[in-house]
Symmetry: C3
Subunit: 165 residues, 3 copies
């Protein structure tokens, strides 16, 4: 009936942060802004698994966290990306496509499942935007550490619809 991502997000009951009200949490991490837009291209800063000022998933995959917990961290990160998009352009309905995400997972040397973690993020995008708009390019890297001990971070690029204000 409808494929409005905003309506879908409402029906799904997603808890998307309002960064205009609560402030972009990334500003606490240093000298940076939440996004940069050039025409229809939206370049977001890093987003992590955090609610307000609280990191939701700290630790290391393959040691402190299961792949399922990592997946949940990536999904929480996805909610922050959605909040970042809304902060930048006001509505999820202005998204034409998820261009690409580069994803970082804190893990042990032997952990081979970093890609499974990232699907927590990309599955959410497909649920909200549908497959055509929400399925983006992707890569995932297992890393040493992230700011404040969070286990997951994403670096997302989004394409906006023509005429997006």
């Amino acid at each position: 009936m409808t494929d409005s991502p905003e309506k879908l997000a409402l029906i799904m009951g997603l808890d998307i942060p309002d960064f205009d009200r609560i402030g972009y949490y990334g500003a606490d991490y240093g000298t940076m802004k939440p996004y940069h837009r050039i025409g229809n291209l939206l370049f977001l800063s890093g987003h992590v698994a955090q609610i307000g000022t609280e990191i939701t998933h700290k630790g290391r995959l393959g040691q402190d966290l299961t792949t399922e917990q990592g997946y949940a961290a990536a999904r929480q990160t996805g909610l922050n990306v959605l909040g970042g998009i809304k902060q930048a352009v006001g509505s999820l309905d202005h998204v034409k496509s998820i261009v690409r995400t580069l994803n970082f997972v804190v893990c042990t040397p032997d952990y081979e499942g970093a890609h499974k973690v990232s699907s927590g993020l990309s599955d959410l995008f497909v649920e909200v935007f549908g497959r055509e708009r929400g399925l983006g390019g992707r890569a995932t890297i297992g890393v040493m550490a992230l700011a404040g001990g969070v286990c997951f971070e994403t670096w997302a690029t989004v394409e906006l619809v023509d005429g997006c204000p």
Copy 2:
């Protein structure tokens, strides 16, 4: 006589995968698509050292693999990037430039040669596209782990010629 990358690749006997026929291997890694195109910009998903469903180079530089083996892994990854370009736009001849690649090498803490590994990828691009089109921007990062234990991954951006279908 000719500087057609397609002809060069044929003469060189490069084994470039046909993802339209065998399917993009990245889909086995999670919820993602192989590329996203906006106008003349082609954003590829992560490519790794893999043939079909088989990873060709597993392990860690500075421990299990020599720099020469890493270089070979990067070259194999480059073949997959060429396959990704062909899947996206049909022909290597539509490439105007390699914009930039971000490269990830699984290594030990003491390994200082990650950059030498990446030249396996970027040397291939210069061989196929020539120096003007094939020499791209680059950075290389030594990381903890990659999906499935592969030792090398690249994240490539490509510029297409005007009028590319």
Copy 3:
């Protein structure tokens, strides 16, 4: 009176490398070029904490280097980015915005301050370009190793003013 980044850099006495004269140091790292430009978008190759052929900050945050030393490494890296911009377009005054930087910090598994290191880079950009133009998007990743043992690397994207030659 003036907000010319070139004048500010002069007043600040910044030691910005002239890559046209001394050559882009990245070429010593392998098959790569210093940047790629498409219209008003400037994609830089990786820049590190280096002066001439000498890495200025080797080692690992949380073990060999303090956060303050890492911050200094990031600032030195920022000077190389400024040199890279000048090599590409001749003048810092052609910069419209810092789009985004992706930053890599070599650190221990327990180090949680990678984001503080990156502010050495992004603070410099704000000093030189002012807040409106110089404050970019950002993400920071703690990694295993970087080329030659340097502790910091950045991957920057810059927006140029309309009509930039």
